[in-house]
């Protein structure tokens, strides 16, 4: 094959003609040190500002700083953007930027045939090739013939650019570190995006390092100019992706971690409570601790980095007991450690929110990969009959909504609420129509009001919640504890009939919440048909896309996406009965499906995927087709 290494001095070409496309999937892949996450975020920003809908998927190596050039040190950032509604980060890549051989070998298989491959040819040296496991230089073989390849000596191009900048005092290493900006510039050009937001961001980021700011901006602009001015290979087109039809409003990008933190803060405000977030670092939940620790500007939020997860959950219980909103967040193994503590919150009927950013398991498993395999743990994973509320967020923006809802339910019903997100949602981002907190209806929780004829386990007739009277409240002295309590008085009771009553009350209180949460809607499609694809959590995107595609083909199927995992929506059983078949794609070995079968006696079938990666749309389509009586 004949790879054309572009010369920066190539001739100016004819004005760009941009091919208009509906959507595109781009992935930046490089060494951990290559700054791919920054590159991706900046491309995302420019794309969002250009009015596209989008979904991103950052994927980091498990190692902190893996040796340069290794396959396990590759870091990637993927973005799917378009003028239509975007629901996933995309199955197949339209453009792959590979900054070294390791990035190429680990990512190439996701590039669609005839997709555009941009490689930094300068990194394809013997040492790097060997580290990546290449025997020969792939750029010199014809395995890449199925793609459109743009192999550029980005090192040389960057160096040339920066050398042209006057008066900066930088090392060659510093120059080479700007390669990512050069590549970003080129891709920005490719899609007709503006470099201005990135330029501005670089100015702020390197405010104290003026020279570094200058050379990064120079590289960025050079990459862009390279696209603009150089005659690229005949088969490399420039594209135009028109803005999406989004609802009017103010938008921003939001990650799931941000969505949850801001939702918790908003929930605490609506409940008129200070919030104490108690956590022990663990991937991918740590981000929430970082974000909340950073919210120091008077939000009434305190963070407590506990000595372990047991201390985290029990400190959250102590905080709620003390009249604040106690929140704890972790991931699978950490949630496992909280199990006993959560039982105390159920027994004493104190409100806490437990956020689980799920990851691959069992045990340490795949800490940096996504999975949604903690549903069993959330619903069933405690000793004894120990019911609580389980909610799941379906997207970064939905994280905000569900976090507010978690606070509402916890404080209204005096119960722990487990909110499930996952590694994918936590880190990926999407444009988000920013809500107006000022316009939201408060659901004030009072912790210093003593009801008439107070008893610690007296109950609200509607909610079955007991009163929340924090120590320090005049006239409210009482004692609570984990031993079974006498109905109403809360005194220790070993009475058999009382234990039955209390067990029933605990179960009924949670079950009743089904009347206070929305009925299950049909996310996409009609209320009856040949097939319902039922999902929860971050499978929202791929299921939605698959159902849209198949409906476009004329199939009678629907997408039903569940946010209320426990209690399940009150109409769900009846709704599911309207479909000839029910398929449940899950990034686990079939957990929601167990719940649906047990609850509704519906022969729901599982489509499990446990690879640490989100579903591809096609995987769901293929499985659905089998139910729809077709082989694809």
């Amino acid at each position: 094959m004949n790879i054309q290494i572009q010369d920066p001095a190539a001739e100016r070409k004819t004005p760009v003609e941009r091919q208009s496309i509906e959507a595109a999937v781009v992935r930046f892949a490089g060494d951990s040190g290559d700054g791919m996450q920054l590159t991706g975020s900046q491309f995302t920003l420019a794309t969002a500002v250009a009015g596209n809908d989008l979904v991103t998927f950052p994927d980091f190596p498990a190692e902190i700083r893996a040796p340069v050039g290794t396959t396990f040190g590759v870091s990637t950032f993927q973005i799917n953007f378009g003028s239509r509604e975007i629901r996933t980060a995309g199955d197949r890549l339209d453009v792959l930027v590979a900054m070294n051989p390791a990035a190429l070998i680990t990512n190439l298989e996701d590039l669609r045939p005839d997709g555009l491959l941009i490689v930094d040819a300068s990194a394809f040296q013997d040492r790097n090739l060997k580290k990546a496991g290449y025997e020969t230089n792939p750029l010199e073989e014809d395995d890449l013939d199925r793609y459109r390849v743009l192999a550029l000596d980005i090192s040389k191009l960057t160096q040339a650019t920066v050398k042209a900048v006057d008066g900066v005092q930088v090392t060659n290493k510093e120059i080479l570190r700007t390669k990512n900006m050069w590549a970003l510039g080129l891709v920005l050009w490719l899609f007709g995006r503006d470099v201005a937001p990135t330029r501005q961001w670089l100015g702020v980021k390197f405010a104290k390092l003026e020279d570094i700011a200058t050379i990064n901006i120079a590289a960025l602009e050079a990459g862009f100019a390279f696209g603009e001015t150089t005659e690229l290979a005949h088969n490399v087109h420039a594209y135009e992706v028109p803005p999406a039809k989004l609802d009017a409003g103010e938008y921003r990008n939001v990650t799931g971690a941000e969505g949850i933190c801001w939702g918790l803060a908003t929930g605490a405000h609506l409940a008129d409570l200070p919030m104490i977030y108690c956590s022990y670092p663990i991937t991918p939940a740590s981000n929430m601790l970082h974000i909340l620790a950073g919210m120091t500007g008077g939000f009434g939020i305190e963070t407590f980095q506990a000595e372990d997860e047991i201390a985290a959950v029990t400190a959250a219980i102590g905080a709620s007991y003390g009249g604040a909103l106690g929140v704890t967040g972790s991931s699978g193994p950490g949630i496992a450690l909280k199990t006993e503590g959560i039982g105390l919150a159920v027994a004493t009927e104190l409100p806490i929110v437990i956020v689980n950013a799920q990851r691959g398991g069992p045990s340490t498993g795949l800490p940096t990969k996504t999975e949604q395999s903690d549903l069993y743990q959330a619903v069933f994973g405690r000793n004894a009959d120990c019911p609580l509320v389980v909610l799941a967020a379906r997207s970064p923006g939905d994280c905000f909504t569900m976090a507010v809802e978690a606070v509402r339910l916890a404080t209204k019903y005096m119960t722990p609420v487990m909110l499930l997100s996952d590694g994918y949602i936590a880190n990926s981002s999407e444009p988000w129509s920013i809500p107006e907190v000022a316009g939201m209806t408060p659901f004030t929780a009072q912790t210093n009001v003593v009801p008439d004829n107070f008893a610690p386990y007296m109950r609200d007739a509607d909610t079955l919640a007991r009163p929340w009277v924090a120590p320090g409240t005049p006239g409210g002295i009482h004692r609570i504890g984990g031993i079974e309590r006498s109905e109403t008085t809360g005194n220790v009771s070993y009475d058999p009939a009382n234990h039955q009553t209390m067990t029933d009350l605990r179960a009924r209180k949670i079950a009743n919440i089904a009347h206070d949460v929305p009925e299950q809607d049909v996310t996409r499609g009609d209320g009856a048909g040949d097939l319902a694809i039922v999902g929860w959590g971050s499978t929202y995107g791929p299921i939605g896309r698959a159902v849209t595609n198949l409906r476009d083909e004329g199939h009678k199927l629907a997408h039903i996406h569940i946010n209320n995992i426990w209690p399940l929506p009150r109409n769900l059983g009846a709704l599911l009965a309207n479909y000839a078949a029910v398929l449940v794609p899950e990034m686990n070995n079939g957990q929601l499906v167990t719940l649906l079968r047990a609850e509704y006696m519906i022969d729901a079938r599982s489509l499990p995927k446990v690879s640490g990666k989100p579903f591809n749309v096609s995987e769901i389509e293929d499985a659905a087709r089998e139910f729809l009586g077709e082989t694809s």
Partner: protein, 336 residues
């Protein structure tokens, strides 16, 4: 805070029947505790007892204050959360030796190093009472129990040494039936800012009866105990005829008879409760070769609080505005 009417010790008693074994040392501690609160005029509504699980941990049920009987070993973490939520509360933590030093060791360590402002009462009976008499980490080697029928093997944990090693800022010791001493010690503990750690030797009459008798028995108390007083020479003995000196060669304490070999009171070591090294030496004395130290063993000079004060927050619309601004920080764009 509201004005608290004068309350008598009994006013701090609840209507719940006390359910310890007759003769248990816990009764005496309960009595002392009620007296402490009465003496200092504690507001029951601002007072909270938080406990783990064990016989000792039933304590909150018997105090007419706020109370939380939690789970085994976690009271320190729970109390930390409660204190963060409401720094004004006067929190008392009650925990057994198993609760504190077996399952709860890690939380105790971190409570002490964080120096959360509360009083920690460790009821040390050197046994697991509630679960019917297994060896505890403080049980002496060779203790025969259902789980150690040939005698316990492990070297015991030492509450005071552990607290010092964990960075405690206040360490004291007393025992169940030493009423005035116990009351005074608990008052000192309550006054101290930061975590005040008090080891209370407690007689489990059922599973480890009289294990401390060689120190607490009236007949031997004089020689087996030394009552510490800051700034006062370390005198002990039934007739106040003995004292402690420091032996530089071995870096250890030594008991001497006053008068003998010309040793006078002025030659004795003077108790300095701010000296951690001295605290380590005194804390280690077990009542045999050297008398057991009772009272305030260590009280660190005021240490800076690093944790910022409880965060203030605006309410209602002001908070909504704050949040709305926060959500709009960074890059946003408008879709028309």
């Amino acid at each position: 805070m509201n004005v608290v009417p004068e309350l008598k010790p009994d006013d701090y008693a609840t209507d719940q029947e006390v359910r310890w074994c007759p003769g248990c040392g816990d009764y005496a501690i309960l009595k002392a505790m009620r007296k402490v609160l009465s003496d200092v005029g504690a507001d029951p509504e601002q007072t909270v007892f938080i406990s783990g699980i064990g016989c000792a941990a039933r304590f909150p049920y018997y105090m007419e204050t706020y109370g939380f009987h939690t789970i085994h070993g976690r009271a320190a973490a729970i109390a930390t959360g409660t204190k963060l939520a409401n720094p004004d509360l006067d929190i008392w933590l009650v925990s057994g030796d198993g609760d504190s030093l077996s399952i709860g060791g890690n939380h105790l360590m971190h409570l002490l190093r964080r120096d959360i402002d509360l009083t920690y009462l460790l009821f040390n009976n050197e046994i697991y009472g509630l679960t019917k008499g297994q060896a505890s980490p403080t049980s002496r080697p060779g203790t025969v129990t259902p789980s150690s029928p040939s005698g316990s093997y492990d070297r015991p944990a030492h509450a005071v040494a552990f607290a010092l090693g964990s960075g405690a800022g206040f360490i004291a010791r007393s025992y169940d039936v030493a009423q005035p001493h116990l009351v005074a010690t608990m008052k000192r503990a309550r006054e101290h800012r930061g975590t005040s750690f008090v080891e209370i030797l407690q007689n489990c009459i059922v599973y480890n009866a009289d294990i401390f008798a060689d120190v607490t028995d009236k007949k031997v108390a004089g020689d087996a105990q030394i009552h510490l007083e800051h700034g006062a020479p370390l005198v002990f003995g039934k007739d106040g005829d003995k004292g402690l000196i420091f032996d530089v060669k071995t870096l250890s304490l030594k008991a001497v008879a006053l008068g003998e070999g010309g040793v006078a009171e002025k030659d004795l070591l003077v108790h300095d409760e701010t000296n951690a090294v001295l605290a380590g030496l005194l804390g280690a004395m077990d009542g045999h070769a050297l008398p057991m130290a009772l009272g305030v063993i260590y009280c660190a000079p005021e240490r800076p609080a690093h944790r910022p004060a409880h965060p203030d927050r605006p309410r209602g619309d002001a908070m909504a505005a704050l949040l709305d601004a926060h959500l709009r920080k960074g890059h946003t764009w408008h879709v028309a």
